[in-house]
């Protein structure tokens, strides 16, 4: 999947995107048109289908803004606004990116450390593993405000509470992936290390760490996307302090569907960019170890 041949792949992707845009326009017509019809009927006014069709893409609070409306909103808030302005989506993306990166770093480190502990210590594994899984069933949005408030009480404000929530979401895939990866070493290789009477540390650095790398990168890609979700979720309860999350919230608050969609697309772009960067790092590292992806 990773190394798709660009030359051969643009056509299917392009046609898929075209199809989606087509469906999107159609859906917008139907949804907004219906809304319009309801409104006119409530006012007991006459309406015709041609009138609806011509107005469906101009409603003030569309149920589904048409692609060009979202594009316009994106253009307005990305290109037509200076980056330092609070109305710039780039500005808000950077705020979100900030806590995403911090949370991702913290989460990766915590995730790796826990995984190493679990793989090497049976007690840790037995006592921790079930609760690590249970921890992810706690709805994050439920504890986000609590974390923000409690950390706020400890005078930790700004980027850190958001990063903590990002960390909470991103450590899990890293832990699970790393535990799998550290244990994915070929049995033959493990036995080889045993015949050398290698210490746990030696086995780790010469064998397990390598067999874990492909798993680690797969998890890091999930983790960085999760960190982004965490950052955005964390921006919801604190509503008014900037970031893509607060754009989503205020978009919803003021019925600005275009603004929601623009923020969503920006978030997806940001997420794709982050995953792509992890991908680059992976390719670079795998190249150094001979270019074989699955060890």
């Amino acid at each position: 999947m990773k190394n798709l041949n660009i030359g051969a792949s643009w056509l299917p992707l392009a046609s898929m995107i075209l199809a989606i845009i087509g469906i999107w326009y159609l859906a917008a017509l139907i949804m907004n048109g219906n809304q319009l019809i309801n409104q006119l009927e409530r006012k007991k006014q006459q309406w015709s289908y041609s009138q609806i069709a011509s107005q469906a893409y101009q409603v003030k609070r569309p149920m589904l803004p048409a692609p060009h409306q979202v594009a316009l909103e994106l253009k307005k808030s990305v290109f037509d606004t200076s980056v330092s302005s609070k109305r710039s989506l780039v500005h808000h993306s950077l705020i979100t990116l900030n806590s995403t990166m911090l949370g991702f770093l913290l989460g990766s480190v915590v995730g790796i450390v826990i995984a190493i502990g679990i793989v090497h210590n049976k007690t840790l594994e037995a006592s921790l593993m079930p609760w690590i899984i249970a921890s992810q069933t706690i709805p994050i949005l439920a504890i986000a405000p609590i974390i923000v408030v409690v950390l706020g009480a400890l005078n930790i404000t700004g980027v850190l509470p958001k990063a903590v929530i990002s960390m909470y979401l991103s450590f899990f895939p890293v832990t699970i992936g790393m535990v799998k990866g550290l244990r994915a070493s070929d049995t033959l290789h493990v036995e080889l290390m045993r015949t050398y009477n290698a210490s746990a540390l030696q086995t780790f650095w010469k064998l397990r760490w390598y067999s874990a790398q492909p798993y680690l990168f797969a998890s890091l890609k999930v983790a960085i996307a999760a960190a982004l979700v965490g950052a955005i979720v964390a921006e919801l309860p604190t509503g008014a302090q900037g970031g893509l999350g607060s754009r989503l919230l205020s978009g919803s608050y003021y019925g600005q569907t275009q603004q929601i969609w623009a923020a969503l697309i920006m978030a997806a772009l940001l997420g794709s960019l982050l995953v792509w960067i992890v991908n680059l790092a992976e390719t670079a590292l795998l190249k150094r170890r001979g270019g074989l992806s699955n060890a």
Binding site: P12, L13, M16, A126, Q136, P139, L141, A142, I146, T187
Partner: protein, 320 residues
């Protein structure tokens, strides 16, 4: 000193802490900070007990099943005990953090209400959305395996879509599908579709080259290749997605309820009771969610174990 003497000492320390916590007044740590030492000792005793238990499991495999439950329970018990001690000992306001005892109390006192919430969120939204999302991801992955065109179009798109934070689509889904569980199920469908799609696709494509060649020499048709070779080899991937999705689905439903819901449901309960300063109710709902999530996860893990007995990660102790 023989081992069992140590074990008895550890148990005594733990029991002592339990007695202190359950019989003392609010804010006792503020009065007698020295008691904190006992808490630290009890925590140490528990870690020691835990490693004794794991050693026991290693030397006597017959106890393994018991310790497997006992170890995490003991660990959790100590966690709760510490929580209770700190909250009671430092008289932490119930508005900030309720004591575990208070959470348990409100849970057992409001069972019918929690059951109604569970029914609304889990039995309706989560189950429907999870089932639809997972099956859709699975089916589309089938199509994508067969068609290179679809694959090249869907995979980058899937990666892009999975980067969208679901919290963002929740308000849209509520707008489109109404306030009741249907909009929550829709959020879950969107959330669970792509993990299932990507994983199934990866699994179906991960088949051993030699098995592909083998089926090729048999001139097997596509459905035979699928059922006899691809599906079994894809199962580990599919279970990964099923397990991941089981936690995602619950979170998705609860998050979506923040954006509008009838006045029942776990997400509704959490957000409403936070506003009413009933933190014990909030935590009780979280407990219900965690139990439901862990049980679903555990059930899937058991199913996986029984279906994937042949996989190297599940084979018996004698491996090569």
């Amino acid at each position: 000193m023989p081992k069992y003497v140590l074990t008895i000492i550890y148990l005594c320390l733990l029991a002592g802490q339990v007695v202190v916590v359950s019989s003392s007044e609010q804010g006792f740590y503020q009065q007698y900070p020295g008691l904190l030492i006992l808490l630290a000792l009890a925590a140490y005793a528990v870690t020691a007990l835990l490693s004794q238990l794991t050693q026991l499991a290693e030397t006597h495999p017959t106890y393994a099943a018991v310790t497997k439950v006992l170890v995490p329970s003991l660990f959790a018990f100590m966690l709760l005990l510490t929580w209770q001690s700190i909250v009671v000992g430092f008289a932490v306001s119930a508005v900030l953090l309720p004591a575990p005892s208070a959470i348990f109390y409100s849970l057992s006192n409001n069972l019918p209400m929690f059951w109604a919430d569970f029914k609304q969120t889990y039995l309706k939204a989560v189950l429907a959305g999870y089932f639809l999302g997972c099956s859709a991801g699975f089916i589309v992955a089938q199509l994508a395996v067969k068609s290179r065109f679809l694959r090249l179009g869907l995979v980058p798109l899937g990666n892009f879509m999975s980067a969208i934070p679901i919290v963002g689509i929740a308000p849209i889904m509520v707008m489109w599908f109404g306030f009741d569980w249907q909009s929550k199920a829709a959020v879950i469908v969107v959330m669970t579709f792509f993990p299932m799609f990507i994983n199934t696709l990866a699994g179906l494509q991960s088949t051993d080259a030699i098995h592909n060649d083998l089926m090729h020499t048999y001139a097997a048709n596509k459905s035979q290749i699928f059922i006899k070779s691809q599906l079994p080899q894809a199962l580990p991937f599919i279970f990964n997605a099923l397990k991941l999705n089981s936690t995602l689905a619950l979170i998705g439903a609860i998050v979506a309820e923040f954006f509008g819901t009838p006045i029942v449901g776990m997400g509704f309960r959490i957000s409403t009771e936070v506003g009413r300063m009933n933190m014990d109710m909030v935590w009780a709902t979280i407990v219900v969610a965690a139990i439901a999530g862990s049980l679903s996860y555990g059930a899937l893990a058991l199913l996986e174990r029984s279906l994937l007995f042949w996989h190297p990660s599940f084979r018996g102790t004698h491996k090569r």
